[in-house]
């Protein structure tokens, strides 16, 4: 029973494929893998936008959307129907293209954003036996396809012929390139210890429990440091607060998609959220045990439920961060990436190697590895604070 519930979708697909002739099967199999994925994450996008607005509202002491429920009825659902009018509004709004804009590039930019973002979902194991394509170089595929997002940001910013758009695009690209390095370096620790780029192998390496706790990589010193860095870099990669300089409303209007309206704007919005889900999904796969249950007595819950629970938990964390932290300044952003994140990611790489070679020494390797991370963290942090490269924001008010 538990087994069949866990494999429900896999079996459903095989059952449906059984009715088809041999020749059609590969094609239909691909369609049957992709369509539910797009539908589920598209639905998640709709829910999360409301979730985010309501969550931010709570944090800022207001209600957030709470009127729209199911259309043509009196059921309000606490405002969770808001995405329906939002979607309709985006669809029927006039599509304004600036006269000076480079029409073709302006049109292609949102498409170029969405394609790589959707492609990254191909390698995410969202449940047991539930990976669309289990590439031998899966993690590399994720990062390489993700790199194409920068091109779309540039296309959007440049083709609009608007200085706010161009500034936002240049900020965005600089930020994405800078934070891609700690992102990849922190993922490399996991790849190094698992010895495989295959996402299913990485999840399989985190199976099982020791002393009631799961064998997730986040519960090791290097894994914890790596996970924290991965999350920070993921926040920056998905252009979310406190790293939302590329689209800082109060400075750049909306950054690289200032000149987009209607459906194209909705595509940018969708691409951004789907990119965020994908990168969180990779973080879960790498550090949080993928679809594995956190405790031995909870293993009966289907694997995809665990994946989605972890995903929603981190999405909530991202919303919380957005509501709490102020936006960074450009120089702070850059020096944080280059002077703190990258050195720490490199040190973490060494720590992971030390951890590997000290296997079998028991508590000693925990102490050594924890010290190897905490020492540089304190020294680096203090050094940067002293020179005021990083540090608390000071406010100056007009006299």
């Amino acid at each position: 029973m538990v087994e069949s519930l866990d494999q429900l979708f896999v079996n459903l697909k095989h059952w449906a494929l059984g009715f088809l002739p041999e020749a059609l099967q590969p094609l239909v199999s691909a369609v049957l893998s992709i369509v539910p994925l797009v539908a589920v994450f598209g639905g998640l996008f709709a829910i999360v936008t409301i979730f985010e607005r309501k969550g931010l509202g709570r944090i800022q002491n207001r209600y957030g959307p709470n009127r729209v429920g199911i259309p043509f009825t009196d059921i309000r659902l606490a405002g969770f129907g808001q995405f329906i009018p939002d979607g309709i509004k985006a669809l029927i709004k006039e599509d304004v293209v600036p006269r000076a804009a480079d029409k073709v590039v302006h049109f292609l930019a949102p498409v170029v954003l969405l394609i790589p973002v959707l492609l990254t979902y191909a390698v995410l194991p969202i449940g047991r036996n539930m990976t669309v394509v289990d590439f031998d170089a899966g993690v590399l595929f994720f990062f390489s396809v993700g790199a194409a997002v920068e091109i779309s940001v540039f296309m959007a910013g440049w083709s609009s012929r608007n200085k706010y758009s161009l500034l936002g695009a240049m900020r965005g690209i600089a930020q994405m390139i800078s934070y891609e390095i700690p992102l990849i370096l922190s993922a490399v620790t996991v790849i190094m210890l698992v010895g495989s780029l295959k996402t299913s192998d990485i999840v399989a390496a985190q199976a099982g429990f020791t002393a009631g706790l799961p064998n997730w990589f986040v519960l090791t010193p290097w894994g914890f440091a790596g996970f924290v860095m991965f999350l920070i870099a993921a926040l920056a990669e998905s252009n979310r607060a406190p790293f939302d300089l590329p689209e800082a409303e109060s400075e750049l209007i909306a950054g690289y998609f200032t000149e987009y309206s209607g459906f194209k704007f909705a595509l940018f919005f969708l691409g951004e959220y789907l990119g965020m889900f994908a990168i969180i999904g990779l973080g879960i796969t790498l550090f949080l045990g993928g679809w594995h249950a956190p405790f031995p007595f909870l293993t009966w819950v289907p694997s995809y439920v665990w994946f989605m629970t972890k995903l929603l938990a981190i999405v909530f964390f991202f919303i919380w961060v957005r509501g709490t932290l102020p936006r960074l300044r450009m120089d702070q952003l850059m020096s944080f990436a280059w002077k703190f994140m990258i050195p720490m990611a490199l040190i973490n790489l060494v720590v992971a190697a030390v951890w590997h070679f000290m296997a079998g020494t028991g508590a000693a390797r925990w102490v050594v590895c924890a010290l190897l991370i905490a020492g540089p963290y304190v020294l680096l942090g203090r050094g940067l604070m002293e020179n005021k490269h990083l540090g608390k924001r000071t406010y100056r008010f007009a006299d």
Binding site: D136, A137, F141, I151, I173, I177, L197
Partner: protein, 166 residues
């Protein structure tokens, strides 16, 4: 000649021609991205998965972005009004055609090219990693050194001189 190969080859060639013939440099660099993507597809067709992904990561994620940054930093993003071709461009085209003729002739007439198609080779990431860490470890270290040197060199060359700034 599989249809997939023909489509990818057509996309690659057309975008390569576009990359060198558009007047606007940004359009050129965007066409270049398509060429790189097409080449990555061809690598996948040739069962070189790792190289195909590395191609996308390095060329689209880094080289194309670098080119775009250089275009914007040198203020050449606008469509130029003056001639874009070098004075001796006809000679240049002639040279290119001659080169292609020689290469094409060599390819079509060569006896060394075997007619039989061997079984698809397998190159897993593990094999590549083993080869890099054993047989090719010295080249790997040298590449690491070269990349570091190139990075420092590029920063120093592009850095504004202090004298100039004042």
């Amino acid at each position: 000649m599989s249809p997939v190969f023909l489509i990818l080859a057509l996309v690659t060639l057309l975008s390569a021609v576009a990359a060198i013939s558009f007047r606007n440099l940004v359009h050129c660099s965007l066409s270049l991205v398509v060429t790189f993507a097409g080449l990555a597809g061809l690598y996948l067709q040739l069962h070189a998965q790792f190289v195909g992904f590395a191609q996308v990561l390095v060329y689209i994620g880094a080289v194309a972005i670098l080119i775009v940054f250089a275009i914007l930093l040198t203020r050449s993003a606008d469509t130029p009004n003056h001639a874009v071709l070098a004075p001796g461009w006809l000679v240049g085209i002639a040279v290119a055609v001659v080169v292609f003729g020689a290469l094409g002739l060599a390819i079509l007439k060569s006896e060394a090219i075997s007619k039989k198609v061997p079984a698809a080779p397998e190159a897993t990431v593990k094999q590549i990693g083993d080869a890099l860490m054993n047989q090719y470890v010295l080249p790997l270290e040298v590449i690491g050194l070269l990349l570091t040197a190139a990075m420092i060199g590029a920063v120093i060359i592009a850095m504004r001189d202090d004298k100039e700034a004042k």
